[in-house]
């Protein structure tokens, strides 16, 4: 009996698919649900809408409609900016960027050799992109990093392969920011792994004590105090005649600083690893070194890649603090450009451009880390 009705159902023509009622789908329904869901929501939408429109319009009018994009070069450099001064407060002066962008990006690097730091910036970006691809997460990545960093050092210094030698005090701008953060990460990472392992060790109380002391001391003080230390105290530490330059001293301070924070991130990964992994490795009779290198670290480090990327983003921003000890990084180069008497009073434009550069790098990192976290969670829940 049931078979006949099933057959009837199966052979009956499908009813024409009906559109849902107009009040449920479509932009109007979406708006009613998400923008005007209640009286409070409607008020918020209207107030915010008006504010957004107002400020967007103000910004558009200042930054686009009334903006000055370029100015003719006047004989007297102080008169160059006159077309800009005429619209000051009403329109933006993007001409200052047109005039100063090479200085902001590359500092006092000899003008006709600025392709070298430019190439370095591209190499850094390439290095980040390759490190971000999971296909390259194996031992070869280490060699790629070493090779790229060596090439970058050669390009910046020169002195070989027909490239002229450029002293380090002429470097500046974006490459400095990238050098400080990337070399900082490259050297802080091994340090951080050792410290994290030391802090976890139950068998070696003295080592644990040292690691805890280091991490807590560094994390308790601001980076500025470390940078001050690097700029005024390191010369006292070093034997006479050996006086490392300012950049190297700041780099050491950043490595020490980054090491403590990375160590905490890695320790999180070590703790998140199930105890069974440690016990299984012990049961196999692996030595401490084998256990750590082959079982624990590969899994723990993988777990902490998203927070590591976030921490790296933090260091990338924190390198801007070298402004205070007078190293010409991106932010300092921008501030120096503002001090040019030709262009005084146009700092807002330069700050906006600097903010955009920092934002592009950091946004790429943070959205990458978010995407990775989502992938990991999916893989974990499967």
């Amino acid at each position: 009996m049931s078979t006949t009705s099933e057959v009837a159902l199966a052979t009956a023509p499908l009813p024409a698919r009906e559109r849902p009622p107009a009040g449920v789908v479509g932009p109007v329904a979406w708006g009613r649900h998400n923008l005007f869901g209640s009286i409070g929501s409607s008020v918020v939408t209207i107030v915010l809408g008006v504010l957004i429109f107002y400020f967007f319009w103000r910004f558009l009018s200042w930054g686009l409609i009334h903006a000055v994009w370029s100015v003719p070069v006047a004989a007297n450099p102080l008169e160059t900016a006159i077309p800009c001064r005429q619209v000051q407060g009403v329109g933006a002066c993007w001409a200052v960027i047109g005039d100063k962008w090479r200085f902001i990006l590359f500092g006092r690097y000899p003008y006709d050799m600025q392709w070298r730091p430019g190439l370095c910036v591209l190499l850094f970006i390439g290095l980040y992109v390759i490190s971000a691809m999971r296909r390259f997460w194996r031992k070869e990545l280490l060699y790629i990093w070493i090779a790229t960093l060596v090439v970058i050092a050669v390009l910046m210094w020169g002195g070989v392969l027909g490239m002229e030698y450029v002293a380090q005090d002429q470097w500046g701008g974006l490459p400095i920011t990238l050098i400080l953060s990337t070399f900082g990460l490259a050297f802080a990472f091994p340090l951080a792994v050792l410290v994290a392992l030391g802090r976890r060790s139950t068998q070696l109380p003295a080592v644990k004590f040292l690691c805890v002391g280091y991490v807590e001391l560094i994390r308790g003080v601001p980076l500025i105090s470390l940078l001050f230390m690097a700029s005024v105290m390191f010369p006292l530490f070093m034997p006479e005649g050996l006086n490392p330059d300012k950049l190297l001293r700041a780099q050491v301070a950043i490595i020490l600083f980054a090491g403590a924070y990375l160590a905490e991130v890695i320790r999180g990964g070590l703790q998140a690893l199930p105890k069974g992994q440690y016990e299984a490795a012990d049961a196999l009779g692996l030595s401490y070194g084998q256990k750590t290198a082959k079982i624990i670290l590969p899994q723990a480090l993988r777990l902490v890649i998203p927070p590591l990327v976030n921490t790296f983003m933090g260091f990338f921003q924190d390198t801007s603090l070298v402004l205070i000890i007078g190293i010409l990084d991106l932010l300092t180069a921008g501030k120096t450009a503002m001090a040019d008497p030709t262009w005084t009073g146009f700092s807002t434009e330069i700050y906006i451009v600097l903010a955009v550069i920092y934002f592009v790098f950091c946004y790429a990192m943070s959205s990458y880390s978010r995407g990775l976290e989502r992938q990991f969670r999916r893989a974990h829940n499967r």
């Binding site: 601001p222 980076l223 500025i224 005024v232 006479e240 600097l354």
Partner: protein, 403 residues
Amino acid sequence: MSGTAADPRLLPTRQAPRRRLQLSWSDPRFRNIVWQLLVLAIVLGILWYLVSTTRHNLAARNIATGFGFLDSTSGIPIGETLIPYTSGASTYARALLEGILNTLKVAVVGVILATILGTLIGVGRLSPNWLLARLTAIYVEVLRDIPVLLQLLFWYVLLQGLPAPRQSLRLGSAVFLSNRGIKVPLLNWETAHSLALLAFAVAIVLSVLWARHAHRRQDTTGEAPPVLPVVLGLLIGLPVIVWAVFGAPLTFDMPALHGFNFTGGGTITPEYGALLIGLVIYTSAYIAEIVRSGIQAVPTGQWEAAQALGLHRGRTLRLVVLPQALRVIIPPMTSQYLNLTKNSSLAVAIGYQDIVSIAGTILNQTGQAIEGIAIIMAVYLTISLSISLFMNWYNAHIALVGR
């Protein structure tokens, strides 16, 4: 009878037999000791080397070590002071104290404001209103991706770009915005106000006692005495009554334009204003994320269960959701408070005289580099430790009690 004596639960716990330490590489304990001695020797060796070269260098440069310089008079002019200080008459120690107070002034106000703003933004991100949720999401993302130092410098330029005092912007009749800072009216402080403040403190104590009493009453009898109206009445009523009894004085010191500058009133300097705005806005973006994830961490079932018990929305939030969300929120919030405090050291870049700025000036004037940096580090370590201890205590206070 002998059966009870043989009960293994009554025997002392058995321990693994202690083996004698063997001086051989195959004994793990021996290995551990060797490794630790090695590490300690390396660390101490480096330290000894640094100390000896430093002493040599200091001797070569004729720099005397020690904190004796703290008692000599400082010639550092300090713009913002909370306690009396005169450049050229007060000591370096006094100048440092002034710096510490300035740091605390930014940190305390900043933490409070950032918490309020961050909570609002974080709740806004969860709003069903699409526009509000998107806008707050953009706020969080943009502010987190721009270095805080750049933001501070930007705010400072904005505040300095305000018109001169004579063309200052006015908010109402008594607040002036100019490139000299924000001028606000100040209350003329009298005895009645101090007494009202005292009454407020008493009201807090009474409120806590009343809340405890009400809680105990509810536990024993089941009826809940009113808490909120009584507490509000105490907190507002008691100070107002005391103030009224002592003559209700209410006069203000109004800022007024005289010539090229203002007289009277209180000032929020551009340096302090920029530092505060920058730190609060930057930190609020992080706090918003913490608040959002904290609220999202509470399972929907908790809301539904509370509803099923007949609790209305306010009580659900206060009694069920928030206590659970707080547990997730407190630890990362602590590190944000610490970050804000540490970031306040960026004051040195915009000329606000906090501890780093003043210690840095002292360091330049006296050449006492090691002492100056030691002081900075000691101050921040103390502040960090205090915040950590307090937040750990609070965290333990609200932690889930395992049964």
